[in-house]
């Protein structure tokens, strides 16, 4: 789907289409709903202001991903950040989950497993979370992740390797 930016309607379509993606990238870094809203809003304001012409839809998506990553990173170090510590954010996230009364025991266990996996990722050092998310969720190659995060590909690979090792320890005993 190629969305041109000629009209306000097009911008609205782009924003609605990519809001979940931007939100998730922010969440992988911040793990806080309120902060994720702020980052998402900031990303699309920048997108509108930039008013760029993109070679393709992939180009637009890559631009948005990069903007979301940078905005999330800057948000952590900005004065607007109110929360501190990942554990608190994870607890917030965990508490916000509500389970339907109709969930079966099997589905409940699956949900628990997924939450355990996500919690483990959110316990990783901040610098590893974005590469992990882009690699395992967005399915981006390491070269593209390196371009987005403005690092070397070897750095991305070593970050992923270290993250995997940490996740192994965090998820020890967890049966997939």
């Amino acid at each position: 789907m190629v969305l041109s930016l000629d009209t306000a309607e097009s911008f609205d379509m782009v924003m609605r289409h990519y809001t979940p993606m931007v939100y998730r990238i922010a969440f992988s870094r911040l793990a806080n709903a309120v902060d994720c809203e702020d980052v998402t809003q900031e990303v699309f304001v920048r997108y509108f202001r930039a008013n760029l012409t993109y070679e393709s839809e992939e180009h637009r998506k890559a631009w948005l991903i990069r903007c979301a990553v940078n905005t999330s990173i800057n948000f952590v170090t900005s004065a607007h950040k109110k929360h501190s510590g990942d554990l608190e954010n994870i607890e917030n996230y965990a508490e916000s989950e509500t389970l339907s009364a109709n969930v079966t025991e099997n589905e409940f266990e699956k949900q628990q497993l997924r939450q355990t996996v996500l919690n483990a990722v959110l316990q990783l050092p901040e610098k590893y979370r974005i590469p992990v998310h882009l690699f395992y969720y967005e399915d981006l190659p390491t070269a593209q992740i390196a371009a987005i995060t403005n690092t070397r590909e070897s750095t991305v690979r070593s970050q992923l390797a270290r993250a995997r090792k940490l996740l192994e320890n965090l998820l020890k005993g967890v049966e997939f």
Binding site: D12, M15, R16, T19, P20, Y23, R24, F27, S28, A33, C36, E37, T40, Q41, F44, V45, F48, R49, A50, N51, L52, T53, Y54, E55, H59, A62, W63, L113, R114, Q115, V117, L118, V121, H133, Y136, Y137, A147, L167, L171, F176
Partner: protein, 228 residues
């Protein structure tokens, strides 16, 4: 892959609620409409990296310098070897590379002129007086003991050249080199080590206790024989 599946599944459930979306969109439009003038359109930064012109220019300059240096080196080394080859050019017609040195026989004919020219241009530490005085051509007469060897007689031969010159206390003597290793009566002969065949070097001949010893520049003894 299990981890990826679980992570993806959980992340798929992470998205703003409807209320959050409306809140985000309202904030975006509010910010846009509050005096944000639209910027003129411009091309997004290309994903392609620009040509590293600086690197290419530097590499080109380095390559040019290397070629110049290599040219100078080749020019100078070629010049030196050409001198040696030119000196031996006259001898190529029938000469054997100097694998052994023996006192020339009467049949050996020494080419004239070429060696004299080479002596004048040679970088070997030849005694100037003997060079300027010319070299006595004794090739036709040499078949026995050189008249005088002296304490520090010096036998000089050149790469790819079939003549050698014996510098002694007397007149320098020119000899034609052959592959004949026969020891002539009163003469001297020795076989050069194969690895030194293509090297121009100065041989030193000493006579002590009737033993003629031939050594190379580095004091390596190449051969010794008893003067008869």
């Amino acid at each position: 892959m299990k981890f990826q599946e679980q992570y993806k599944a959980e992340m798929n459930s992470i998205e703003p609620t409807e209320a959050q979306r409306e809140k985000i969109y309202a904030a975006v439009y509010n910010q846009i409409n509050n005096g944000e003038a639209s910027q003129p359109k411009k091309l997004a930064p290309s994903r392609k990296k620009p040509l590293p012109l600086k690197t290419i220019a530097l590499a080109g300059a380095s390559a040019a310098c290397l070629i110049l240096v290599a040219g100078f080196v080749i020019r100078f080394t070629t010049k030196n070897s050409f001198m040696v080859d030119a000196a031996s050019g006259g001898a190529n017609g029938g000469a054997m590379p100097g694998n052994s040195i023996s006192a020339p026989t009467a049949e050996d004919a020494a080419p004239e002129g070429i060696l004299n020219d080479y002596i004048n241009k040679s970088e070997a530490d030849e005694p100037q007086s003997s060079e300027s005085a010319g070299v006595a051509d004794n090739s036709s007469a040499i078949s026995g003991t050189p008249s005088i060897i002296g304490e520090n007689a010096r036998l000089v031969f050149y790469a790819n050249c079939t003549e050698c010159i014996l510098y002694t206390d007397g007149e320098p003597q020119k000899f034609v080199l052959t592959s004949n290793t026969k020891t002539l009566n009163g003469g001297f002969s020795f076989t050069l080590p194969p690895e030194k065949n293509n090297l121009a070097q100065t041989l030193h001949i000493t006579l002590k206790n009737n033993i003629i010893r031939v050594t190379a520049d580095n004091q390596t003894v190449i051969g010794q024989f008893t003067q008869e």
